[in-house]
């Protein structure tokens, strides 16, 4: 490999990477610069924090921040636990485990739009849940999950939908982590007469820690970007940060405020990644 690259001179890899670099500079780098311009100037063109002041004076911003955090706190831990159990189970390699693996992965390929409509199909007033409850005589009139003033109910539908949709995401990361643990560790543990619990706490858990940490980080970052499921199931009854970017931009054409919301999401994500990289080991982040 090294001999090959030395023979041909050093400019070739740069040339090969150049189009990608230019593309990212143009469509990620430049818009980012533009974001700073938008966020830190007012309508009149003054440089300053005017947009942030407008934003923080709007009670909706605090609601959106609070809801996003609530969703994160409820969803992420549940997802990690569920995904870990699933990954341990699939990794036990019972007969036919590959089929189970594919089926668990189906939601990974689905959009949040589609997932939201699937849960609407179950929880709507004429949905399957209501029909089953009515026919079994448990309730007489349908139980409403969606609608004005019912955001505390739709909140839990959003949680369930996200659990269904995004648990496989965590599952895949954890499974990849479990798959690389060498069998020899377990064989050695068998020799020393470790119990299953001991094996789990002394081998499996420490060795999957890196995947567990990166799964946690990714899920946390994604949780700040939650949009489709919430917007389709509750509209603006449950305001979230990403939903406000959309609302300010698409409904109000308020470019600066929309960009400021986006900026705050990015800022939170960078902050979380930074905390994560500083306080936890970074070795496993290398591809």
């Amino acid at each position: 490999m090294i001999s090959l690259s030395q023979k041909k001179g050093n400019w070739l890899p740069y040339l090969l990477f150049l189009p990608a670099l230019l593309y990212l500079a143009g469509f990620v780098g430049y818009p980012l610069v533009k974001t700073f311009q938008l966020v830190f100037t007012s309508e009149k063109g003054d440089i300053g924090l005017a947009n942030f002041i407008t934003l923080t004076q709007d009670p909706i911003f605090w609601k959106a921040l609070k809801n996003t955090l609530y969703l994160l706190i409820v969803i992420v831990p549940l997802q990690v636990i569920l995904a870990f159990l699933l990954a341990l189970f699939v990794n036990s390699r019972f007969k036919g485990y590959m089929i189970v693996l594919y089926i668990i992965c189906i939601p990974l390929a689905l959009s949040d739009v589609s997932a939201a409509l699937m849960s609407y199909n179950i929880f709507s007033s004429h949905g399957f849940l209501n029909k089953i409850l009515i026919n079994s005589g448990l309730i007489e009139t349908p139980f409403y999950f969606f609608g004005l003033g019912l955001s505390s109910r739709s909140f839990w539908v959003v949680v369930l939908t996200e659990l269904w949709r995004a648990t496989p995401l965590v599952f895949v990361i954890l499974l990849a982590g479990l798959q690389v643990i060498s069998k020899e560790y377990f064989e050695a543990a068998d020799v020393f007469g470790f119990s299953s619990w001991q094996k789990f706490f002394h081998i499996t858990l420490p060795l999957t820690m890196p995947s567990l940490q990166s799964a946690l980080l990714i899920r946390t970052l994604f949780a700040f970007q939650i949009f489709g499921v919430v917007w389709l199931l509750s509209g603006r009854d449950i305001p979230v940060l990403a939903g406000e970017v959309y609302y300010q931009q698409a409904e109000l054409s308020n470019f600066r405020i929309a960009a400021t919301y986006g900026f705050i999401i990015a800022l939170i994500c960078i902050l979380i990644s930074w905390i994560y990289l500083t306080f936890l080991k970074t070795k496993h982040l290398e591809v």
């Binding site: 890899p13 189009p19 036919g96 409509l117 179950i122 089953i132 970007q225 990403a242």
Partner: protein, 275 residues
């Protein structure tokens, strides 16, 4: 006492496995089965509380979705956006992935890190400035604009996937071919590409899938030339329920096909794209 317990546990273990498998299947498949049922169920069946499982089926909802709500346009937009995204990210990503997998050069780690940082970066922050830029150069509200934005999202992932796929093929094959007189480019196309073709095909479908599913940027960047998810987000919630289910079903179909074709690469691909 222990010696008696263990055989019992071993005996019921397969049963426990089957039990857990059944629960997993029910949890993951029920929403899919139910939306398929609802997408084809007649509206009379849907609005009757007594009818839990519909018995009358119709294609009427798809007809109203496609033509009444003009979703056919959105589907064509979605297909072309995803197609262009796939093509662009391949054209730009393949040489970049090759560079990362085959060469050692100063700045390589920086470029890798750049890819990892960009793919983790929330796209939300880019949507608004991109719209302003696209308005200025006159490609706002177009399939091109959305494709360019989607490519920015997919490209870093694709580069990392390519680099990992290509690293799986030993350089010695290429070197051997070059000894026999093939040029580097010929060696790449005649030796390496055929070996990694399944992986490349899987990544192509992967790129297509990401673009097909993306809703946020697509909604912000377009007004009339919406992709399917953007169209659904804007119109479906104001439509009758059965239209929503038909829409959800249509969105889900390519995803199922996707899972079927890339099943062997699932864990690797998402492992790379998420890590």
């Amino acid at each position: 006492m222990n010696s008696q317990k263990i055989p019992l546990l071993l005996r019921i273990r397969p049963l426990i496995t089957i039990f857990i498998v059944v629960i997993i299947l029910i949890w993951f498949l029920t929403p899919l089965v139910l939306i398929t049922l609802s997408a084809f169920a007649s509206s009379d069946d849907y609005y009757q509380f007594e009818k839990v499982i519909p018995t009358h089926f119709t294609l009427h909802h798809f007809e109203s979705l496609f033509f009444g709500l003009e979703a056919w346009k959105a589907i064509i937009n979605s297909l072309s956006v995803a197609g262009i995204t796939m093509l662009l990210s391949f054209l730009i990503g393949l040489p970049a992935g090759y560079a990362l997998s085959r060469y050692v050069f100063p700045g390589k780690n920086f470029l890798k890190l750049l890819c990892m940082v960009t793919k983790m970066f929330p796209l939300m922050v880019l949507a608004v400035p991109l719209l302003i830029i696209f308005m200025r150069i006159g490609i706002s509200d177009s399939t091109w604009g959305t494709s360019l934005a989607h490519t920015a999202m997919v490209l870093p992932i694709i580069i990392l996937i390519f680099s990992s796929i290509l690293s799986g093929v030993s350089v010695e094959y290429e070197e051997a071919a070059m000894i026999f007189g093939l040029s580097r480019i010929q060696a790449f196309f005649h030796i390496t590409i055929p070996l990694v073709l399944p992986g490349l095909a899987a990544s192509a479908i992967f790129a297509f899938n990401i673009s097909w599913n993306e809703v946020f940027v697509a909604t912000i960047l377009t007004l009339t030339n919406r992709t399917l998810p953007a169209h659904i987000l804007k119109t479906a919630m104001a439509s009758p329920d059965y239209i929503k289910f038909a829409a959800g079903f249509i969105m889900a179909v390519p995803a199922m096909v996707f899972i079927f074709f890339v099943r062997k690469h699932l864990v690797t691909m998402w492992g790379i794209s998420l890590k």
